[in-house]
Symmetry: C2
Subunit: 183 residues, 2 copies
C-alpha cells in the first residue's frame, strides 16, 4: 500500500504525478529534455539505458522496467539484452563510449563525489563530448530523484515485466509531456 | 577543477546551469514550486531546511551552505542554529512535525525503500498532511539530484561560509526562476 492516498490503478510515478500535477510538469519536462529531445548526440536508446541502469542500481522496479522496455524499443532489442547490460555492462554488446558513460552514471548513483577525473578522461578518450558527460551526470542524478520519488512513497507497480514491454512503443511515441496519465 | 569547462566564477549549480540553460529551466521551476511557492502549508524556511539537511547528508558543500543560509534568512536564525539541526535535528529547537518530516527526508536520502509506514504514521500523528509528506519526499529526492549534479561535475564553490550567508536575502527575494545567473 502506498504511503499516501493515490488514485487507484495508476502505476509507479503516475500516482504521485496525478496527486500533484504542479510538480509533475517540470519533472516531465526534464525527462523529455534529457531522454527524448532530439537535440542530443546520444541516441534515445542510449539515454534510456543510462536511466535504466541507474534505476536498477537504486533497485527501483517500476523505473528500471518501464525505462528498460523503452530502451529496448528504441534499440530494437529484447529484454534479455537490457538485463545483460544491467548485470554487467562492461561485458555487454554496447559501444565503448556508452560503457564509459555508464561508469560515470554508476558513480553518480553512489554520490556526486564518486565521479573521478579518470572516469571523465576515459569517457573523453572514448569520444564523449562535454555535453554528453554533462547529460550523463544529470540523467543519472535525475533518476536518483525519480527512483526515490517512486519508492519513497511506496507506489504500486505491476509485477509482470511484460506489462512494461507491451507499453513501451506507446510510451516512446507519446513522450513525457502531453500524455494522458490514465492510459 | 570542474570535470567539464564551465564559465569562470559561477558558483555551484550555476556553472552547469549556464552550460545547459534548457535543462536549467525545469530544474529551477521544480525548486521554485517545492521551496518557494506560497501554495504550501510548510513554510519556506521549513522547506529550505529539509533541502539543507539532505544536502548535508549527501556532503554537498555548496547546496548545504546556500540553502542553509536561505533557511536561516527565512527562519530569522543564524548559521549555528542551522548547524545544530544538521548535527542532531531530534534535539534541535524545531517542531515535532518538522522532526518527523526530517526523519522521512533522511530515509529518502539513503534510498526510497528506506521510508517506512511507521515513519509516515508518526509524521501524520505529529500533524503532517499527505501533501506535506509528498512534498517532503519530493524535496528530499530532488536534493539527491541537485547534490549529485553539483558534485558529479566537480563544480567550484566558495569556501567562506559567509559568502552564502551574505547572499541569502537576495537569493530568497529573487527566487529560483527569472534571476540573473551572473549575480
Amino acid at each position: 500500500m502506498a504511503h499516501i492516498q493515490f488514485e487507484e490503478g495508476l502505476p509507479g510515478i503516475r500516482g504521485p504525478m496525478a496527486f500533484r500535477p504542479e510538480t509533475a510538469k517540470p519533472l516531465n519536462e526534464l525527462a523529455e529534455l534529457l531522454l527524448r529531445n532530439d537535440n542530443s548526440t546520444l541516441s534515445r536508446g542510449e539515454r534510456e539505458l543510462i536511466g535504466t541502469y541507474v534505476s536498477s542500481l537504486n533497485d527501483c522496479f517500476f523505473c528500471q522496467n518501464i525505462h528498460g522496455a523503452i530502451a529496448g524499443h528504441y534499440l530494437e532489442c529484447d529484454i534479455s539484452f537490457i538485463d545483460a547490460v544491467k548485470e554487467n555492462y562492461l561485458s555487454s554488446d554496447i559501444t565503448e563510449k556508452l560503457k564509459s558513460l555508464l561508469t560515470i552514471a554508476a558513480a553518480v548513483q553512489k554520490g556526486g563525489k564518486k565521479v573521478t577525473a579518470t572516469m571523465v578522461d576515459d569517457a573523453r578518450q572514448k569520444g564523449a563530448t562535454d555535453r554528453e558527460i554533462h547529460d550523463t551526470v544529470l540523467i543519472a542524478a535525475a533518476f536518483c530523484m525519480f527512483n526515490r520519488y517512486v519508492d519513497g512513497l511506496a507506489t504500486w507497480a505491476p509485477e509482470d515485466r511484460m506489462y512494461y514491454v507491451n507499453r513501451a512503443a506507446r510510451r516512446a511515441e507519446e513522450g513525457y509531456v502531453d500524455f494522458d496519465i490514465h492510459q
